[in-house]
């Protein structure tokens, strides 16, 4: 089996090398985490609310087939065309077929991590279709031709200066101008024209409701709505895990989502799409792409509860200091690290190790996914599948040999301490010992605890 290189570690090392930028990134995201804390503190029943959300999602997953059938029936009754896609390629083809039917060449798209996961944009662009991401952050990274580094704040890794330069080049803003208000206004004018000219609007889905056959899309900018309501065709793309049983359940999730994501009480627009507008066409694409495989795994299925709030990213001390791109997957951070290996175990074998297992992610998760436990379990799966570096496995087998033989352990401990005392420069040599690049090794004592203990006992008994 092919083994993965330590990609996250390498990318993270490059990121951390610019310490000032790392501090800025860390503090920016911690600020968002703090806003989340303040928002959660306003809800005395916060923890019970998380529990309800978790239970609703667990229930929905345990009855997923029936809820999808109910959703499909009700959506069709409402006049929505429902499509099913087994994987990213099928999803992209379905979208493309709809576009072709309408001779559509200009698309506006609001944020959808699913389409990111399926690589829809590059596929459509290759077919000669203009795809404009309309969320400001997404438009920024689209102009920079890079992937999002965060699922809620896609351009969080960029400073306003970068965006000023980018907009100067692409939108003709004044050179050197980097005032966020000014830049946002420029983007508004630029994108307003795109909204007005679009043939088709593509959106993601935050929640689909089996009972009503409708779905909810949340934005702060209003970009999803502007696109959808001005276009003749609306294509909404969702992973099959997004379905919830009833509209009343939205009350639970909408109280949690924005508070967890940005510390807002609710997103500015929580739009409930039920039926196409007169003269409009509405499509709903239901995508599997590995989700049924994840559902079949008792250890990992509850990752499908995720509502994509990114609270786990904002709190993760590793994410904050390594940036979203170091995760090289559509969804970064702790949740990405437990979703990605299900899609490609070898490609993403490094991600479950990009964590100290501190557990903060599981605590902020509004739907109580046991993220850090799943990181641990993925490590076991990857270890067993031979998807980690062979040297690591040899090292670990050696370690067990050492620790299961107390005499060997005693000898090795003594020898190790002796070596460190005799050649301290060796132990502190960064080339031989990665620990020592930025940290000193502990000063080895003369005696281990057990040697001391044996000596004491000898004294008392002798």
């Amino acid at each position: 089996m092919k083994t993965a290189s330590p990609k996250h570690a390498t990318a993270a090392e490059t990121f951390v090398r610019d310490e000032e930028n790392t501090d800025w990134h860390n503090e920016t995201l911690w600020f968002v985490r703090s806003k989340r804390d303040r928002a959660a503190q306003t809800i005395p029943e916060w923890e019970a609310l998380r529990e309800q959300a978790s239970q609703i999602k667990n229930h929905a997953l345990s009855n997923l087939d029936n809820y999808l059938i109910q959703l499909e029936e009700n959506a069709r009754r409402n006049g929505i065309t429902v499509h099913w896609a087994a994987n990213g390629d099928e999803h992209n083809q379905i979208v493309y077929d709809i576009l072709r039917k309408h001779n559509a060449t200009k698309i506006v798209k609001s944020k959808s991590m699913l389409t990111e996961e399926c690589h829809l944009n590059p596929f459509l662009i290759k077919q000669g279709i203009e795809v404009i991401d309309t969320d400001l952050g997404e438009r920024i990274i689209q102009l920079r031709e890079e992937p999002p580094s965060h699922i809620v704040m896609p351009a969080i890794h960029l400073k306003k200066k970068h965006i000023g330069d980018l907009f100067h080049k692409h939108l003709g803003t004044d050179a050197g101008a980097d005032d966020p208000q000014y830049l946002t206004e420029a983007a508004r004018i630029h994108l307003r024209q795109k909204f007005l000219m679009a043939d088709v609007a593509i959106t993601g889905v935050n929640f689909a409701v089996a009972e009503t056959g409708g779905f909810v899309v949340c934005t702060n900018e209003g970009n999803a709505d502007l696109g959808v309501h001005l276009s003749k065709v609306h294509i909404a793309c969702m992973g099959i895990e997004k379905v919830i049983p009833k509209a009343e359940h939205l009350g639970v999730f909408l109280r949690l989502l924005a508070r967890s994501a940005t510390g807002q009480a609710i997103t500015t627009f929580s739009s409930h799409f039920q039926k196409p507008a007169p003269g409009q066409e509405m499509h709903l694409v239901l995508v599997d792409n590995g989700r049924t495989r994840q559902l079949a795994s008792p250890d990992f299925r509850n990752s499908l509860k995720c509502i994509r709030c990114a609270a786990c990213m904002n709190t993760c001390p590793v994410y904050r200091r390594s940036g979203g791109h170091s995760y090289h997957s559509a969804v970064a951070g702790p949740i990405g690290s437990i979703l990605a290996p299900n899609i490609d175990m070898n490609e993403y074998a490094d991600l479950p190790f990009a964590s100290t297992l501190c557990g903060s992610c599981s605590n902020v998760c509004p739907v109580k996914i046991d993220i850090h436990q799943q990181l641990y379990k993925w490590r076991q799966v990857l270890g067993a599948a031979g998807a980690v570096e062979p040297a690591k496995k040899v090292g670990m087998a050696g370690m067990d040999a050492l620790f299961s033989r107390p005499w060997l352990y005693r000898f090795a401990g003594r020898a190790g301490r002796w070596l460190m005392q005799t050649f301290p420069s060796l132990a502190n040599k960064p080339g031989l010992n990665p620990w020592a690049i930025h940290r000193d090794m502990p000063q080895p004592p003369e005696q281990s605890f057990r040697d001391w203990y044996a000596q004491q006992n000898k004294k008392t008994n002798g």
Binding site: P44, A354, I437
Partner: protein, 246 residues
């Protein structure tokens, strides 16, 4: 009650004084302590690297050593959590379960089992920063967590408050991870070191003279950074402070 003293391998080798302080603290509280001489490691380094399956020998050795103990107490939240969650035996599952249910981190053993309410001899007149270790906190629930909307408490802090003269400082991020993370500290060296630096900075900014905690692995990480920076701040395990009498 026979209390088996579990001294994690790296504490045994690098920080014997922590083992000594733990033993003295327990004995001063009237506990009958046994130290099984053939104990080694809890198996966590292998398991966290994805090879829990390779820690069979390690688990077997642990179970053999602590078979005669009613409870096991160790001065490390991380190792204790690992045992609690993962100690496993195909040969003797009942014994593995018994030990999993009867292993305690030192602070929780003091506050919950011994119900220690005062440490009359303890005196430590210094400004102390408490590093809250993730596995002890979020795994063993030794203290409340900043992410959860729940009443505040801290078992280590409760104990430190019993020490005469001790001035406990407040931190900006009281439960941010130190970045040690087991093998993470070498495989993700860059991020790990940066996390350690940032954690140390929080303590230094608030005027700590000593950084303490219940997990020597975190403290080893912080010590590594402090010594590299030649900062005039020491790390001490909480057992050392609770037994300090100067």
């Amino acid at each position: 009650m026979n209390v088996g003293l579990f001294i994690p391998c790296y504490v045994d080798q690098f920080y014997p004084k922590v083992g000594i302080a733990t033993l003295r603290l327990l004995e001063s509280l009237g506990v009958n302590v046994i130290f099984p001489m053939e104990q080694t490691c809890c198996g966590q380094p292998m398991a966290n690297s994805g090879f829990q399956s390779l820690s069979v020998g390690c688990d077997r050795n642990f179970i053999r050593n602590f078979a005669n103990c009613d409870v096991v107490v160790g001065p490390s939240g991380s190792c204790v959590l690992h045992l609690k969650d993962h100690l496993h035996s195909d040969e003797n599952p009942a014994e593995a379960t018994r030990l999993r249910n009867n292993v305690y981190e030192l602070c929780e053993f003091l506050t919950d089992v011994l119900k220690v309410s005062e440490l009359p001899k303890a005196r430590f007149p210094h400004r102390v920063g408490l590093h809250t270790s993730c596995h002890g906190q979020r795994g063993l629930h030794l203290s409340s967590m900043s992410e959860l909307m729940a009443p505040k408490f801290s078992k280590p802090e409760t104990l430190l408050r019993m020490v005469d003269g001790l001035d406990l400082i407040q931190l900006s991020q009281p439960d941010e991870c130190c970045g040690f993370g087991g093998t993470f500290c070498v495989f993700e060296e860059a991020v790990s070191s940066k996390m350690g630096k940032d954690r140390v900075a929080d303590h230094l900014r608030h005027g700590a003279e000593v950084i303490t905690g219940g997990d020597m692995s975190c403290l080893m990480q912080l010590e590594g950074v402090l010594r590299r920076q030649k900062a005039p701040v020491r790390v001490m395990h909480i057992a050392e402070i609770l037994t300090a009498e100067n």
